[in-house]
Symmetry: C5
Subunit: 263 residues, 5 copies
Amino acid sequence: MDPGTLIGIGLALGAVFVSMIMEGGNPASIILPPPLMLVFLGTFGVAMAGGKLKDFTGAMASLKTAFLAAPVADDETIANIVTFADKARREGLLALEEAARSVEDPFLRKGIELAVDGTDPDELREILEAEIASKKAADKVSVKMFNDMGAYGPTIGIIGTVLGLIHVLENLSEPDKLGHLIAGAFVATLWGVLSANVFWFPISKKLDRMASVEAKHMELVLEGVTSIQAGANPRVVEQKLLSFLPPAERAAAAEAAGEAQAA
Amino acid sequence: MDPGTLIGIGLALGAVFVSMIMEGGNPASIILPPPLMLVFLGTFGVAMAGGKLKDFTGAMASLKTAFLAAPVADDETIANIVTFADKARREGLLALEEAARSVEDPFLRKGIELAVDGTDPDELREILEAEIASKKAADKVSVKMFNDMGAYGPTIGIIGTVLGLIHVLENLSEPDKLGHLIAGAFVATLWGVLSANVFWFPISKKLDRMASVEAKHMELVLEGVTSIQAGANPRVVEQKLLSFLPPAERAAAAEAAGEAQAA
Amino acid sequence: MDPGTLIGIGLALGAVFVSMIMEGGNPASIILPPPLMLVFLGTFGVAMAGGKLKDFTGAMASLKTAFLAAPVADDETIANIVTFADKARREGLLALEEAARSVEDPFLRKGIELAVDGTDPDELREILEAEIASKKAADKVSVKMFNDMGAYGPTIGIIGTVLGLIHVLENLSEPDKLGHLIAGAFVATLWGVLSANVFWFPISKKLDRMASVEAKHMELVLEGVTSIQAGANPRVVEQKLLSFLPPAERAAAAEAAGEAQAA
Amino acid sequence: MDPGTLIGIGLALGAVFVSMIMEGGNPASIILPPPLMLVFLGTFGVAMAGGKLKDFTGAMASLKTAFLAAPVADDETIANIVTFADKARREGLLALEEAARSVEDPFLRKGIELAVDGTDPDELREILEAEIASKKAADKVSVKMFNDMGAYGPTIGIIGTVLGLIHVLENLSEPDKLGHLIAGAFVATLWGVLSANVFWFPISKKLDRMASVEAKHMELVLEGVTSIQAGANPRVVEQKLLSFLPPAERAAAAEAAGEAQAA
Amino acid sequence: MDPGTLIGIGLALGAVFVSMIMEGGNPASIILPPPLMLVFLGTFGVAMAGGKLKDFTGAMASLKTAFLAAPVADDETIANIVTFADKARREGLLALEEAARSVEDPFLRKGIELAVDGTDPDELREILEAEIASKKAADKVSVKMFNDMGAYGPTIGIIGTVLGLIHVLENLSEPDKLGHLIAGAFVATLWGVLSANVFWFPISKKLDRMASVEAKHMELVLEGVTSIQAGANPRVVEQKLLSFLPPAERAAAAEAAGEAQAA
């Protein structure tokens, strides 16, 4: 689990409320039901209207990915692939049949199974590439959904504030209530801007980041499976797969792969 | 029919009016003919001016697609294609002539007919790809039209508000009417922002989403038809077409295709 | 002629002035020479400064295209090309020499002439593709010029309003004139936003749309000419060219091409 | 020299100051040292911080290109290339050695020299293409620098205005100075918006336009040199190069090339 | 070291504070703990929430690159590669084994080592290209992180200002404190806009620029190593590598490479 999103949102919310208290304000003054309902229900509504109903429920389900962000073990996968390449070279592709069953990563397992089944190399590459493309397209729908919510949030907030100001302007006869009413009108803008920048945009960016991490992992698996199928030299496979990693992770992964091969 | 757009717009409009009533406002106060006419007619006018007249009427006609969003049955299509691939392999391409007539999807029917007619594989692919490209280009015109309306809406609203404020500033001599006049001026901005964010942008995004769903469906059909023509193994065809689906729909579609083949 | 732009701009201007009169305002109050001069001359100046002098005069000349929008007769062109393909197949390419002279579309005429002259197919394609690319690049210059004017308009208007407010703030000693002066200051913003959204952006979008319609027409001609040169079957040529059309225009064009061939 | 940028900026500045005088304002009231220093030094500073020091000095040096815009003589270059193609065909590539020396355009000269030296055609194309790519990348740095300045200008101006308003709000005890102080605060926004829209954005766009004109010229030269090296027919070379020009310049250039060949 | 970022940020901050002092303001009046904490902690929080925790710490570590910007010695590298190409041509690839050890640039060293080890040319190119792609992807994460911070800064500032204004509006009963309170509310916007435009955006752009300079350097090395492996003529290698440099650096680098070859 990557705690970045939880820590980050907590930090930002903390900064908002602590600064408010330091200034002598009362956090309760911004917890007003009408603007809260308007901003959150309104944002959910227009975001939902811009896609299929299932896109919206899918985006809500992907919140788990944004907050938990299960780690992607590129180094372990490389070590596995190098071991498989070694085994396939010495004992033939069929020797991987049993080993494949114990692989937890479903995409790597599917790739090895297709190779063991004797699928044509071009067809195997096409199938795995189409799966990567479908995964990317599906992830993009959720990323866009939260990004749209970030774009709609402040404008829904402004609708609330303009409505509030119109209400104020038509009731100028009670000047001692004006300050309170105008303050209330601004609370909608506040929640619109805050929800967009503290919730929706960061969640959209985190989902985008995780989607790219996972897509890169699948591309690494694809490269590895086609190399195993082609009977490539395990040392060359390792070197090629390592060059897919970010420079900072390469040394540690190289070590892990070396150990796996020695074992 | 996908109810996302109807539910979403209803939810957002509900949030606006309920929050207004909760604050003690009167929804009738924002139903003023001059700003309503300015914002809606003005937005329609400038959107229409940015394209051919037929682009505008076409966009209005596509509202049906946005609200009804007829479902695209990828799973059923895959099942059909796998059955056809099986039949073509056993009895030859000509055996599909009769089967093709009962196909409801016009693009699949056309593809099968072209294959049965003995069209050259490269030419068949070119013709179907050009149809997909024309469909995408035509859909994009409507998507852009509503997106333009979303961009123009708030600025037309601001024109109304500035006009209103100029009117107010030239009539400062009647201070007791000022509040009412300024409130009226802001109603134009309100409708500009509201129409853009509750109607035009969500409709544009929904049309874009449906266009991409339909284009993906056509690409799946193209892939299926060329595989049938090439006499590919039905099991491989199925596996390839399934990899085009979003991960979440793959299991259900695989089952449907399996049943079709067994039947 | 496509009346979309004329009707659209008329509708939008009408909405502005009618709503103004409905509110009791006087349209003459926004016809002030200083802000009008600032906004229009200023916008023209900065747009001109961002390109070559000839780019600006070319953009002004393209206003005719935006407002008149001569129709592009794809259906007629397809009918012509199918007839030519038929003739070329039966009587040889040279038989098109005379027929080409009566073709009004200069691009189709040039293509046929190059083919009749015995130009190498690859070279013919390269020459026609380069002409399409040059046409697109030249059109884009005018599209960008009006788009820039749309982006500059409101900011030039804001410059006028800030200048006006500075003037007001330095003359606070005459409070009874204040309303009038502030109203005047806002007129610059009004014209900046109005000119951008009612004139420049719609014109830019219309030019972009016409450029894409014309480019698509030229691509259709290119495809047709290379098919004629290759001696393709007229029925296949027709089917391929029809697949370039938007779905909604395909049926009518198919009929036109059928009649031409029968004649 | 193309006077577009000089005339355009002059026109825009003139519109600003004349409209100011027409409104009864005094241009001297916006020539205040603190906001001028803040906006210009601040914009230069943050633009400089976003690149290498040499990027900034290079951008300043490219101002000459923006204002003078030396003409690019595509027609003359085509005439030259057609003459060279003719000579090379009749007397061999080596015959161009002397002629190349008198060519003013350094890129054309280098191309001819490489061809005369017997460089491998693929290598010649790679070298010239890499030079075009390097030229484009270098030009883009200056274009981005001025575009960044256009984006920073108004925000630096807003910083100045907010600072000014904070100063005003803390000195509310002297109400008769308020108007003057607030007016002064707005001068920073004025210069921020004005500098961005009258100087930085137009300069950035002009540099971008000149870079694209020059890149297109280099691509035309590349096409011409490789055609000469391949011993192509001068008439075909002419036709191909003419198709690279904007439609409006083609007729004049065709004439110039015809004359050159006849001479 | 390139001092652009340090000088630029210093210049901008200096312009802000000097203009403030010239206007008679007191810089201490904007050093208020609540808005400073809100803007900086809030921006860090939401930026962190939009990625993996390691992305944020990596971005912070890349600040060193932004401020120090170690120079990339393209000219020296070209001279080295030309010398190696010469040696490899005369004495064979193995002769580079010892020379490679003294190369400081790790990417060039790795490339030479792979070539000396007899790696297949296609595989060598794939490995080095994958390393360039991984480097670019890793750099982009930090560039985006600071760009996000630049986008969040002003909106977090606006949250602070709206919170402050709500607080003011609910305490209208003490009018003599109002000016001070409103001034305090604006300080949050000030720091939001200032931090974005003086720190985060310039740092993001500088990192982007350095990433592109380093990527271009790696591409030059890749081109050089594959040329050495292919046994290309050193003079041609030099000419090709020089065409990768910006026009302004080409002459100096050509001289350096000439000297190296002569030595």
